[in-house]
Amino acid sequence: MAVMANSNQLHGKGHVMEPDHEAHLREEHLMLDPRPRSELNAMVMESMTTTSWKFWAVAGFLALVVAVCLGYYWYLMIRDGMGIAGINKPVYWGIFLVNTVFWIGISHAGTFVSALLKVFKAEYRRPFTRAAELMTTFGLVQAGLSIFMHMGRVWLFYWLFPYPNERGLWPNFHSPLAWDFLAINTYLLSSTMYLTMPLIPDFAMARDRSTGWRKSLYRVLAMGFRGTEAEWRHLRFAMNLFAYAILPVMFSVHTIVSWDFAAAMRPGWSSTIFGPYFVIGALQSGLSAVSMVLIVVRSTMKNMKYFIRPEHLDALGKLMLIISMSWGYFFFNDYIVQWYNGDKYTDLLLHFHEAGPVGYMWFLMIIFNVVIPWATLWNKKIRRNPTALFIIGFLVNVAMWFERYIIIPTSLSINRFPFTYQFYKPGVEIPLSFGTLALFILLYMLATRILPIVPVWEVHEGQAAHSIKKFGKEPVVTISDLE
């Protein structure tokens, strides 16, 4: 490098920039800034094993919130019945289903980031695929819990399973709710398997440099993985197949969730565009949540600033902007057709959304989902600023929760029978919602102590595939396809 710099100084002012450009490329892109694998391993191990008292204080607080808000209030609801929840006639579906749709939406980000970006060979995905996939699994756990809460008699959950029984009861496979059961379980199992497979080589790495209980744990979790050609071959084929196959499953899940509403002949729900509108909504909240999680991981976990860089926030910010534009398009498309059709009750409902008791949610939904992302995310400096991106991501998630609230309990308040109109005032749902949020964060925090949050072997592979080549005088990035 020193020789190169001297040589450039001899060649005049314009060429002095050349090594700077190369240095900038290396500083900017993780894939061009390789470190020895042993160092990468040590950094990831250190990030897992270094835990401050603040971590345990936060974890303890969250555990308390889970125990009180989730454990105690759920116990109360089981003891006293669904009457202590805010649901009523005609608002049979309340915040539990708002949360179900919200968490399923959050879960879409993991698959989107990991599978879609892998299929399109977006190299920047490598360090944060696992952080995103973890959100899928833990998000689906919260969605499942919310459905169980909504059931009321949760101990009879197994009635959902199709099996011969003396009651003569059988799931109705013509119902979107039965499709939901199949789709969500397929997605939960698939995404958990998709999370597990690439973890095996990293568990082996952790096994090789752990002692004590961690050694015993990782020894079991690594299952004897050594990295033979055959093991890599099986793993690689399976991961490629998963990347392609899990995408239609992901799209099907939120489309089927949308059919829970769209298949009903209700004002505001009966819409042919609800499927893609829900999928885009899921990506809108999911991608924003991924950005938020990455920013927290980057700023709180040791060594993570090396792996998660402004380039990653920048890329996610661009995706958030594109998805925000798509959400705006689908929202308007859904809105204008309903507005135009002239149906009296649909018209009434649309006005109720905007000017009813939760009209502020409707306006904030538009501002947080469209106005703020469009006004800010075009700017590179904002996209690369962790604090700004975190705030935008947070606002988008608030907006997406509001959107589900408007679609479900608000829309149910108004229907074709004016004598049944009734507003929805949530009761026990509020602490239970905080309980699921706390459980999600707690599970995620604990997972970061056990699971290597960065897929080291994928980063290593990516760094091995990248190089800087001179194209004339210009240093350009070249990528070898090692897969």
């Binding site: 199709p162 109705n172 013509h174 397929t186 698939s190 993985f225 990295g227 690689r236 091995a464």
Partner: protein
């Protein structure tokens, strides 16, 4: 493999390891006497070797077919057995059956692929194995069965070809 005849040669990078595989071939070693172990994904093509046999694609296909049959069972057989009139729809209606079949086929394919990885890789395997932790630090190891060859001579040749270390392979708990 007999442990007595096993050598474990560790290389810093893929190029000397690939040259060592060529060297072993020139010494008369068969492909089945050499195994390559690495901490990051390697393909057989990187060492000029034939692809390893994998049952994963076949298992994935089998799982898809099984999933499709389960989907047909849920979507076609059960409505006929437990008839429910839903809004005047036929008992076996095309669109709902497509959804059920799709979900079950995908689940069957993905589940069988996952299981196939475990079966083909013989996971979980907690028996002692020939391995060194340096491999997960990015080194490439060749596990060589030198039966029919002079192990010491092969060891020297490998060291001269750029191996960082060559030792008798011992099975240790991982």
């Amino acid at each position: 493999m007999d442990n007595k005849n096993l050598l474990l040669a560790v290389f810093a990078d893929i190029d000397p390891a690939a040259h060592a595989v060529d060297l072993l071939r020139s010494l008369g070693f068969g492909e089945d006497q050499i195994s390559v172990i690495s901490g990051f994904p390697i393909s057989e093509a990187m060492f000029g070797r034939k692809p390893q046999k994998s049952h994963v694609p076949l298992m994935a296909l089998g799982g898809s077919i099984l999933g499709l049959l389960v989907g047909l069972f849920f979507g076609v057989w059960t409505p006929l057995t437990y008839p429910l009139n839903v809004g005047g729809q036929p008992l076996v209606a095309g669109p709902p059956v497509i959804i059920v079949i799709f979900e079950m086929t995908m689940l069957g394919m993905l589940l069988s692929t996952f299981i196939a990885v475990f079966l083909d890789s013989k996971f979980p395997n907690l028996k002692p194995m020939e391995y060194v932790p340096e491999i997960s630090d990015g080194k490439i190891a060749l596990l060589i069965n030198c039966e029919g060859h002079n192990c010491d001579a092969v060891s020297k040749e490998l060291q001269q070809s750029g191996a960082e270390s060559v030792r008798k392979a011992e099975a240790n708990p991982l």
